[in-house]
């Protein structure tokens, strides 16, 4: 028997006009956590789809436990014992946890063809207990948090007797403590002999968890290293193909006068007693666990949700914001967390997307001036350095990082003073991340005041002039960028009220 449980040799896959994978090799040992890294578009997703049978390779061989296999469809890979857990859980929200776990391989009474719910519920509970879950197998899927849904996905993989589990960006919507739980589960799976392929943009994940890392770049295999023998810089270089000397631009801004003051803001069930100030040219980091009320607070300031209590002052005078259009008129812009669902119209060209929040500016007496629209779109797309063939490219044709830049460009069309960014780098690769940080710094230098919501510790620490930490709807700590540390933030985000 081979020492590898899964081995891929010389995999090449061509889509019409593009080579998605070029002679890629990959080896996975039993009981190993193997990180797969690379920028967006490097070919990771295609590679995973080859393993799970969604795509078939044009060239190359796949060996499973030393024997050559052909994986023609997702069912074949399931039969071999390969399971994949995707970034966005692909579950059935209106079914129970048990039903989600056993869908497709239910226990059936051989004579009457009746479904054996009692048995399935008990077995599902067994898996959940094994994974240390704190919910029942009869819970509805939609009542669970993202982290809990991922545990269900893992239980589903276990119930299918998976020996190889692929996790595609599992931690991207998890908070630090939830990620920690996931690490623990992954480690216990590894110790019991399951192999895990782990895809992530987060270096913390990789260093914390993986034994071995393989890097893809531009559809090619770049190399495989033991995690302990490779430095952060070398890895970034391998992924990006160039050296990124500094992920975070230097902070050398002069803070202007106070522009926004929030006093005693509250909304029952979401946040209460929120007071803070924001100065011109300042980047204010807002962090805390997912569900701490950060997004709800910012959406209330932007007028998407209402607030029940408190006051908002803009440049000294009190304002009332009932609708996003009120906020934008006052000069407050919001970059939503989910750029595809809330920030863009994917079927539209960039020029129409960019002008959407500034239709007043490009029209006279209600008539659109399309030449002006294209001119503004071109200028702003250049300003934030969107990589596209022209401003008529459709938003859905762009990569995640470029889409995010388009949303930023859209904010710049309006005469804004305050920009609220909600998880601006979520699901964006290293190269685009540093570009977005650069844009943020530029904007701050120009005098924009920025509130950045983020769950990623390094970016909060690297970018913020000042940091607010929220927990359970309240601000539990405020610190300057210099005095902040990971420990202090975590303590404020998680401490329990006595």
């Amino acid at each position: 028997m081979s020492k590898y449980i899964l081995e891929l040799k010389g995999i090449t896959k061509t889509f019409p006009g593009v080579k998605a994978l070029d002679n890629v090799c990959f080896q996975l040992k039993p009981g190993e956590i193997h990180a797969l890294m690379g920028e967006n578009g490097a070919g990771k997703s295609t590679f995973i789809k080859i393993i799970t049978g969604v795509h078939q390779p044009d060239e190359g061989e796949i060996y499973f436990k030393g024997e050559q296999v052909v994986i023609d469809n997702p069912n074949d890979s399931k039969k071999l014992g390969i399971a994949a857990i995707y970034q966005h859980a692909t579950s059935y929200p209106d079914l129970s946890v048990t039903e989600n776990i056993f869908i497709g391989h239910e226990y059936i009474c051989p004579q009457t063809k009746r479904l054996l719910w009692k048995k399935m519920n008990a077995k599902a509970q067994e898996y959940l207990d094994e994974l240390g879950a704190n919910f029942e197998s009869t819970t509805m899927m939609k009542a669970l948090s993202v982290a809990q849904q991922q545990i269900v996905e893992i239980a589903k993989a276990l119930s299918a007797n998976a020996e190889v589990i692929i996790m595609d960006e599992p931690t991207s919507s998890l908070t630090t403590s939830e990620s920690e739980d996931l690490y623990r589960i992954a480690e216990s799976l590894r110790d019991s002999g399951t192999s895990i392929i782990f895809i992530s943009h987060r270096f913390e994940d990789m260093y914390r968890l993986a034994d071995i890392v393989t890097v893809l770049r531009d559809s090619k295999y770049i190399g495989t290293w033991g995690v302990n023998e490779v430095s952060n810089e070398d890895l970034i270089k391998a992924m990006v193909g160039r050296e990124i000397t500094q992920l975070f631009p230097e902070k050398k801004r002069v803070l202007g006068k106070e522009i926004l003051k929030v006093h005693g803001l509250g909304k029952i069930g979401y946040f209460s007693d929120i007071s803070f100030t924001l100065r011109k040219g300042e980047i204010l980091g807002l962090t805390g666990l997912v569900g701490a009320g950060r997004t709800e607070l910012c959406q209330a300031i932007f007028g998407i949700h209402s607030y029940d209590k408190g006051h908002i002052y803009l440049e000294g005078s009190e304002v009332e914001i009932n609708h996003p259009s009120d906020a934008m008129q006052l000069g407050i812009g919001y970059l939503p967390e989910d750029r595809q669902a809330q920030g863009l119209i994917l079927e539209w060209g960039l020029e129409k997307n960019i002008s959407l929040s500034a239709l007043d500016k490009i029209s006279r007496n209600g008539w659109l001036n399309k030449k002006e629209e294209i001119k503004i779109a071109k200028r702003l797309a250049d300003k934030v350095n969107v990589k596209a063939r022209s401003v008529f490219d459709l938003a859905k044709q762009l990569s995640g990082g470029n889409q995010q830049k388009v949303v930023v460009a859209k904010l710049l069309t309006a005469d804004l003073k305050i920009i609220i960014l909600d998880e601006p780098t979520k699901g964006v690769d290293v190269g685009a991340k540093s570009a977005i940080f650069e844009i943020m710094t530029d904007l701050a230098v120009q005098g924009y005041a920025i509130i950045m919501i983020s769950s990623e510790m390094p970016e909060i620490l690297g970018m913020s002039d000042r940091i607010l930490v929220m927990r359970e709807g309240r601000i539990t700590a405020e610190m300057t960028g210099e005095e902040a540390s990971q420990e202090r933030i975590l303590e404020a985000a998680m401490k329990k009220t006595a």
């Binding site: 889509f15 019409p16 006009g17 593009v18 998605a20 578009g41 295609t46 932007f302 998407i304 609708h323 996003p324 259009s325 906020a327 934008m328 008129q329 919001y334 939503p336 669902a341 809330q342 920030g343 863009l344 119209i345 994917l346 079927e347 539209w348 060209g349 129409k352 959407l356 929040s357 239709l359 007043d360 029209s363 209600g366 008539w367 659109l368 399309k370 030449k371 294209i374 063939r389 022209s390 008529f392 490219d393 459709l394 859905k396 044709q397 859209k410 309006a414």
Partner: protein, 335 residues
């Protein structure tokens, strides 16, 4: 602007054009076939009839297109049309001297009011459009029966100036055709070249993004249903004038023809897409079917079924073209 367009956009645009050309080609083939069977089809007189008879359908379709673009639907238009037609006809019966312009204005206003009610339900109470308009359809139809007492207003009770609205012509062009042409010109510019038109597409393509971009989604929805209502009210007066009779069951089920014209014309029920040029060919196809099937001596029992079959055929072809485009787009993403 055209010379700046990149290759992808041209491709996408051309696919849309292929679809429209395909539909036009289909219409041409159909016309040739009909002409072979009955040479009186392509005569000036019959074509004039055809277009006059299609004018009302085309007015309603523009309104419906905008409603469908915002992911909505309006099932109440048949009833709204009957209500505004009935009230106008009864007013004309009791005031024979009423100017035709005032009659048109009256009908349009009644339709507008109906549309405002529906717009309120859809935009402000978040009842699904299909439910809200289904309910109001019954309400409006019931009101028509109530105010008329179930009786007709027939031709001899209408003043000749009123009947002249739909039968008269300027420079040999029937009033109905003129009204349709003017309406199309107005709405072509409204949809493609105004801020509000852009907002309508934005709301239909992605309501969440539109809202966060500072667009007042509720107001846009409300406006769209109000416009639909006003166009329906106008159509009601034209209908009653054309057929010289107002009945309580006027235009019952006609909303389905209108929706069919939109769908054949490439307006996606999922919202966000639809163009005036495409809509015109959809309306034309339905108009030809309505006109030609009797000419071909097709049994009336078969006419509906054949019409339905041809509509389905047109939609399937459209869907196949769209699926191909989507595939190309997917591959584009892998780059």
């Amino acid at each position: 602007m055209a010379e700046n367009k990149s290759k992808t956009v041209l491709n996408r645009g051309s696919v849309q054009k292929i679809r429209e050309l395909g539909l036009l080609g289909f219409i041409v083939i159909l016309s040739v076939f009909i002409q072979c069977r009955n040479p009186s089809f392509l005569t000036a007189e019959n074509l004039n009839d055809l277009i006059t008879n299609t004018a009302i359908l085309s007015l309603l379709s523009v309104g419906m297109m905008m409603v469908i673009i915002t992911r909505g639907i309006d099932l109440s238009i048949g009833a709204t049309l009957a209500l505004s037609g009935m009230i106008t006809a009864m007013t004309v019966r009791s005031h024979p001297a009423l100017s035709p312009f005032l009659a048109l204005l009256l009908g349009t206003t009644i339709g507008l009011l109906c549309g405002i009610v529906i717009g309120f339900l859809v935009a402000k109470t978040s009842i699904l459009p299909i439910i809200a308009t289904l309910g109001m359809m019954n309400v409006f139809r019931g009101m028509t029966f109530l105010i008329s007492g179930g009786r007709w207003v027939s031709a001899h009770q209408m003043s000749s100036s009123f009947k002249h609205i739909a039968t008269g012509s300027i420079f040999g062009v029937n009033h109905l055709i003129l009204i349709a042409i003017i309406t199309y010109l107005i709405f072509y510019y409204f949809i493609n070249h105004t801020r509000t038109g852009r907002k309508i597409y934005a709301v239909g393509s992605n309501p969440q993004s539109a809202r966060i971009s500072g667009i007042n989604v509720d107001r846009t929805l409300w406006l769209v249903y109000a416009i639909m209502g006003a166009l329906t009210g106008l159509s009601g007066v034209l209908w009653v004038s054309k057929f010289a009779s107002a009945q309580s069951n006027t235009a019952m089920g006609y909303e389905m023809n209108v929706i069919a014209a939109c769908v054949v014309g490439g307006v996606s029920i999922a919202g966000g897409t639809g163009k005036v040029s495409g809509l015109l060919s959809g309306v034309l196809l339905l108009g030809i079917l309505n006109n030609a099937l009797p000419l071909l001596n097709v049994s009336p029992f078969w006419q509906d079924a054949i019409q339905g079959g041809i509509i389905l055929l047109a939609v399937i072809v459209g869907a196949l073209v769209r699926r191909n485009t989507d595939k190309k787009n997917l591959i584009g993403r892998e780059e």
